[in-house]
Symmetry: C2
Subunit: 297 residues, 2 copies
Amino acid sequence: MAVTEIESYLASRQQLVQEALEKSLPPADSYPPAVHRAMRYSLFAGGKRLRPILVLAAGEAVGGAPEPLLPAACAVELIHTYSLIHDDLPAMDNDDFRRGRPTCHKVFGEAVALLAGDALLTQAFAVLSRVEGGIPAAKVLQAIGELAAAAGSQGMIGGQVVDMEAEGRTVTLETINYIHTHKTGSLIRACLRLGGILSGAGEEPLAILTRYGENLGLAFQITDDILDVEGDFTQMGKKGGMDAARGKATYPACLGLEKAKEIAGELCAEAQELARSLGPAAEPLYLLAGYVLARQG
Amino acid sequence: MAVTEIESYLASRQQLVQEALEKSLPPADSYPPAVHRAMRYSLFAGGKRLRPILVLAAGEAVGGAPEPLLPAACAVELIHTYSLIHDDLPAMDNDDFRRGRPTCHKVFGEAVALLAGDALLTQAFAVLSRVEGGIPAAKVLQAIGELAAAAGSQGMIGGQVVDMEAEGRTVTLETINYIHTHKTGSLIRACLRLGGILSGAGEEPLAILTRYGENLGLAFQITDDILDVEGDFTQMGKKGGMDAARGKATYPACLGLEKAKEIAGELCAEAQELARSLGPAAEPLYLLAGYVLARQG
């Protein structure tokens, strides 16, 4: 894996996504400004844009151009951002820092942060409904249905609920798996599927993209939990060791660090094989799987 | 206006909506049950289903059947319900009662209530993406875009932000109008437009439905504020006089009760005229305008 290659790919895609995200929200001074400032504060907090880039890379892997996928790419990032704002609220994780900056509610107050999260979630569907570039309306509707399911009570939100209930309790690996495949995995899986669906992928490539997404999503969450154990504030932009302090259900806590790293490695290797099976256009997906693993650092 | 006529119309439509709402959410025992119970607790709290009925009545007014509009009707009620749950949270209005029952967070805790609200909002778009009955996919996409805009930071959420900022301050009638036309009006207007759009309404009838919705939405909020001054707990299912206690910006507070009633009456009369101009199929809309006014009690 060429490090420079994935880094230049990421940089070019981050720029595309950044420009599209810029246009995906009303300007910061739009009335009422409080909520628009809060939405932008969190959306432009320096995220790596991994999810939107996965949408684009999935499309590329099945022969689609990135531009028509930008609304879908923005939609998943808007949903990811809303979930972070609500997760950080005092009623949930009560976090003061995120990506090295005070969290949304620390800056704008709880009420505005709550509403900014609601507005980002709502805006995701507004943006997605505007997909153009000759993509059939029926495909866009399918994408909206899949994204809503992935983000809903039997997807991402379901994972958050179970994660919360599991805090401070001894839970089975089955429960940890449910949390990971839903809280993080569900949206990452949807990125791959949206990119495929909106690029007109056939049934078989779409199934491969889906499995790639499932592997990558779980690997991503495991490496995240490993980082929480091993990383420091500078690297993560938030306090480390928080999972252990909260008694969070994680792979490192349940299986130990070494075993967790081994599993993450296997999941990424399998994702890379799946990417290879899609041919040369899936090179970015291949490289992205290596990139996720390397986050272990 | 025949009272029995509107009441039997409402009863028949409420039943249609109720059955559709029942199917619009996962069963209460779906995993994870906490969030599904909370979603259902608030969705089936005895609301009058005015918004979904407006979607159906708007469709009927332009010659559409009610059944294909049920997903859209459910979607607006899901969004209305989420907004009530989030509005009641301690970070917002901190209300303990709603429709005579403890609010969602009093029963399920703040975190689950927050997530149940998020999940209802998300589910609205899942449901809307499944519109069938031969409605062209492009029309459904338009409806999704309009609903998201109506519920978003420049619609309903914008109204909530300004409402919150206005608490305890002296505000102009212009600000009160912004709050009302956005916090309540925006979603009610969208009900009318969605019913029209998904029933294939032409430009002119759609414009009439839109104006009807704008009138009715404002009248609805004004009568709501009048009820808060004049009503009692039994009638409203929540404590009266809360607006005044909080220094909320309302028509009665700004212009006095009599003037507020006069304006509500004028708005409903104009809505009835607009309904009349759509012909006999708009009879339910005509009756609904009278019904909203009669809430003044």
